[in-house]
């Protein structure tokens, strides 16, 4: 089975570098599945889980935005933060979720709403990855 090298890089250092058979993620324009030999591509990612498939095993990563660069044998994901399930702090994510929800309910100006929405998305994403 052909594989491609996946590396996930954040400002705090590389999170993961390994070879996988398939990468599926959600780009801003929709779901993307990348197999080895894909044409070179650059796409922005939404706040969502990235699934990495190898044999019968699927690894998940909570990726917070950023974008991906695809080459036939290599996928690089550049995000401001990316976490493996083992690195996610459930309590913190739960708290962040509650906080964001509270803030959304007590509607204030637009910037705060936008920020709370993003925070909520990130928290939900983390919780989804871990479950």
């Amino acid at each position: 089975m052909k594989t491609l090298t996946v590396s996930v890089v954040t400002p705090d250092g590389p999170v993961l570098e390994d070879s996988y058979e398939m990468v599926s993620c959600k780009a801003e324009s929709g779901e993307l599945g990348i197999l080895p030999g894909h044409i070179p591509l650059v796409a922005p990612l939404s706040i969502n889980a990235v699934r990495l498939k190898r044999e019968n095993h699927v690894d998940k990563l909570a990726v917070n935005g950023g974008f991906m660069e695809v080459r036939p044998d290599k996928v690089t994901i550049l995000a401001q933060s990316a976490e493996k399930p083992s690195d996610i702090d459930i309590d913190r994510a739960e708290r962040a979720k509650e906080r964001a929800e509270r803030r959304l309910q007590s509607k204030q100006d637009d910037i705060d709403t936008l920020r709370a929405e993003l925070a909520l998305k990130r928290a939900i994403n983390r919780l989804r990855v871990i479950r």
Binding site: V9, D12, E28, P40, A43, P44, G65, R71
Partner: protein, 289 residues
């Protein structure tokens, strides 16, 4: 001349100070090593993001973005990165001097510029000199991670997008080596130096952009600018620890010198006292005979 006891007291207190400064020197040395590591960990990210930026800039012919375009400068933003505390030699004052000089040279009124401060010293300086501060953050750890400054970075970039400022300069201490740091002022926004040549530029024209270059730039440029700010912060932190190490080293050296001097005086005074005692005793004996 001071008494024996007094000199002894000064020697002990200097020795205690020396203990502290030499411990601080070692702490700073290890923090500096850690900061260097952080900078290294950040490198793949910044390199990659630069590479993709260059790809797009080289291939895209018609893409435009406000962050790439120069516009008439009505208001300039200055971001200064300083330490939270002193004990770092001239680290802070060099940066603040550079900031102040720049403002004096380029601006007549307060409406023409604004300052974004990272670190307590910069904040306090601007408060004291009555410079306008739009954003500030204090209490960043010694080993900051991206989450710490994400907010201030994105808000600063937003200031530019909203045309609150038309230029953004960043002033920080660039880490050259453990004993040398250089105050650096760079223009962050609008982004001008996109002509970075990548090693495999043969790739660039083959890229597909999903959905299109314009959309990618929308995501990429703010992220790029934020990463530059973070890079400067890491650089600044490494120099801060290096400066603190040097300052503590010279404090330790000074303490050593002082102890040597004091010990010399102490011995002299002691000897003088002994000589005097002997003279007194022999004088007394002579008087008895």
């Amino acid at each position: 001349m001071a008494s024996l006891r007094e000199i002894k007291g000064r020697i002990t207190s200097t020795q205690k100070t020396k203990k502290i400064t030499s411990a601080m020197q070692m702490v700073s040395a290890s923090k500096m090593a850690k900061a260097e590591q952080n900078t290294k960990a950040f490198e793949p990210y910044s390199k990659k993001i630069q590479e993709v930026m260059a790809h797009i800039a080289n291939s895209a012919t018609e893409t435009t973005h406000p962050m790439l375009e120069k516009r008439a400068v009505k208001r300039t933003g200055y971001m200064v990165i300083t330490a939270d505390k002193g004990l770092v030699g001239a680290y802070n004052s060099h940066i603040l001097k550079a900031l102040y000089q720049r403002i004096q040279q380029n601006h007549q009124s307060k409406d023409e510029y604004t300052v974004i401060t990272i670190g307590r010293m910069g904040y306090e300086f601007c408060k004291k000199m009555d410079l306008p501060i739009t954003q500030s953050i204090i209490g960043i750890g010694d080993q900051p991670d991206f989450a710490d400054i994400k907010e201030i970075a994105s808000e600063t970039v937003q200031l530019y997008v909203d045309e609150e400022i038309d230029e953004l300069h960043i002033i920080y201490n660039h880490y050259v080596s453990a004993i040398s740091q250089k105050v650096t002022t760079t223009q962050l926004l609008p982004i001008t130096d996109l002509g970075v040549q990548t090693t495999d530029s043969a790739f660039h024209d083959e890229y597909e952009y999903e959905p299109n270059e314009q959309q990618i730039l929308e995501v990429l440029l703010p992220q790029y600018a934020e990463s530059l700010i973070y890079g400067a912060l890491l650089d600044g932190k490494a120099s801060e620890h290096a400066a603190s190490m040097t300052a503590m080293k010279s404090a330790t050296d000074n303490a050593n010198e002082l102890i040597d001097d004091l010990t010399l005086t102490y011995n002299r005074v002691r000897q003088a006292a002994i000589t005097q005692e002997i003279t007194e005793i022999s004088g007394g004996v002579a008087a008895l005979e």
